[in-house]
Symmetry: C2
Subunit: 313 residues, 2 copies
């Protein structure tokens, strides 16, 4: 029995791009979009739309910026909608065409709780251009409860479509997901709630299921779990779980063989002890990513002790 | 807040041995036992005690048989108890010393539902020798409900200590774990219930947590998730989750660096698409293990189709 309201949002290129500065080849991006469209995925997030005055296009791949022309080269209009993400404070308000002239259908604004007013300002601008809009509250495992409640109440008063629970550090297990899903759903009456999980403790897929059980309808996944550090909820598992006959896992499996078995060896996302440690300790993965590059040169056990004694990183 | 009744059972050598025919070097086994003892693990399962008339010691490592003398070379009496597993139909009843003369404290009998009467016969024998006894009902995702209920009722009438839920195929998610945990606990009043999960869908740790939430107290884990095919619940994550101060994850982290980062490259347990496919489809991993060895030579997508159309494997 499936819930038709459920929408699957693939973030392969956007979150995966954090591991290679969005330097995915055009052919790979083209094949990825096509396979995801064949698989019946509801939204494909192609990357960020970062401000070119702050980030030089020379230093990044095209999917850090998602120019309209680049998107049109690799994607096409079909039931699978195109999404892009933009960060509070890193976005040029003038970089958006009216939605009616754009291939993009949804814009997701990524924010921390403390920047929620800026996020709402940006999201209102984008919504006024005609896009579907989501606000994704990152690192919610670090948010103070009254601040989060206030942010949700402010969002409740807007016309935005979706608000996301984002477990940036891969810290949550089911009980926290249940608690937050109930909170979001009760404070955001009439809006959809989404969930974006990280896999530091191998709980990204499990926590996504727990979101579904509690009524969360927008579900983020990535192909083979690609994403920053430990990565995300594997899309192939999510499709395997959802019973809606519109989904077909096979195009995703073909794509994994064609590109992702090789990519994972180059980029090394997935379960690794340093990422597990930051997840267990509710810390940003950047310390683990530095450790993985051999910057520290100490043991896992020393890394665990060091991080246990750091108030925040 | 921790639950003092919880016991952690490490199966590194026993389930991991399924990937290398129990050919672990004595020094590695020694270091493993010592580290697990230092970490405060309640039980360490050293391997199987297989019948030497059926399995030749020439064809396997020592931990397929767990001779008393071999165990005494690598382990020692301490608060961490030694466990061994034996399979119904593959066990020599005469291979057990009285518990008072053995270094082994617990014997776990692995069985399918259909062999429950044989399992009870064997478990009674072992119990009469003075050991703690657990009966582990494997592949419960293939069991017919009335058969399972009958088996549990038969077990309820015994003096065995623990009965395990075993998700051999890595098929379950939280709702099935809740359902089975409630069933086992209500039908097995006065006994402890355990859980042993496989990680085909990256749900082994999550499902173990769901067992804990429902009152399951015996928890299986393995170092770095080693085990057949996709492996098991990673012990380091389980210790990170449990709040009992007697556990210390650091000896396990040191051991991972010393042995398991290398071992995983040789033995290749962990998340792989063929294992995910057998998990999604509730099939025995042997088809995936054959696929991984290149026996089939077809694509993931063909493997998925093939397995979807097979009634049972």
């Amino acid at each position: 029995m499936y819930r038709p309201e459920i929408k699957v949002v693939d973030c392969t290129l956007r979150d995966g791009g954090l591991m290679n500065e969005w330097r995915f080849e055009k052919q790979m991006v083209k094949d990825t979009f096509h396979a995801l469209a064949q698989a019946g995925i509801d939204y494909v997030e192609m990357g960020y739309r970062a401000d070119k005055k702050q980030f030089s296009p020379k230093d990044f791949g095209a999917w850090r910026f998602c120019d309209e022309a680049d998107l049109r080269e690799v994607a096409y209009e079909c039931p699978t909608k195109i999404s892009i993400m933009c960060d509070v404070g890193r976005t040029d308000y003038d970089a958006f065409l009216p939605a009616s002239e754009s291939i993009v259908k949804m814009v997701r604004v990524a924010t921390y709780v403390k920047e929620i007013d800026k996020a709402i300002h940006l999201a209102k601008h984008v919504k006024s251009m005609g896009y579907e809009v989501s606000v994704n509250i990152m690192a919610v495992s670090h948010a103070l409860e009254p601040d989060l409640d206030e942010a949700l109440d402010e969002l409740a008063a807007t016309d935005f479509d979706v608000v996301y629970i984002v477990d940036s550090f891969g810290y949550f297990y089911s009980e926290q997901v249940h608690y937050l899903a109930e909170k979001y759903l009760s404070r955001l009456q009439g809006k959809q709630v989404g969930i974006h999980c990280h896999n530091n403790q191998q709980l990204a897929f499990a926590n996504t299921i727990e979101g579904i059980i509690k009524g969360v309808n927008y579900l983020d996944g990535t192909i083979y779990g690609i994403g920053r550090a430990a990565g995300n909820c594997p899309l192939e598992l999510l499709i395997g779980f959802l019973k809606n006959p519109k989904f077909d896992v096979r195009p995703v499996l073909l794509l994994i063989e064609k590109y992702f078995l090789k990519l994972i060896k180059e980029l090394r996302w997935g379960y690794e002890i340093p990422y597990a440690i930051t997840g267990i300790l509710n810390k940003h993965p950047r310390a683990a990513m530095a450790f993985m590059k051999g910057v520290h040169g100490n043991t896992f056990s020393e890394f665990f002790d060091e991080l246990s004694n750091v108030d925040d990183v």
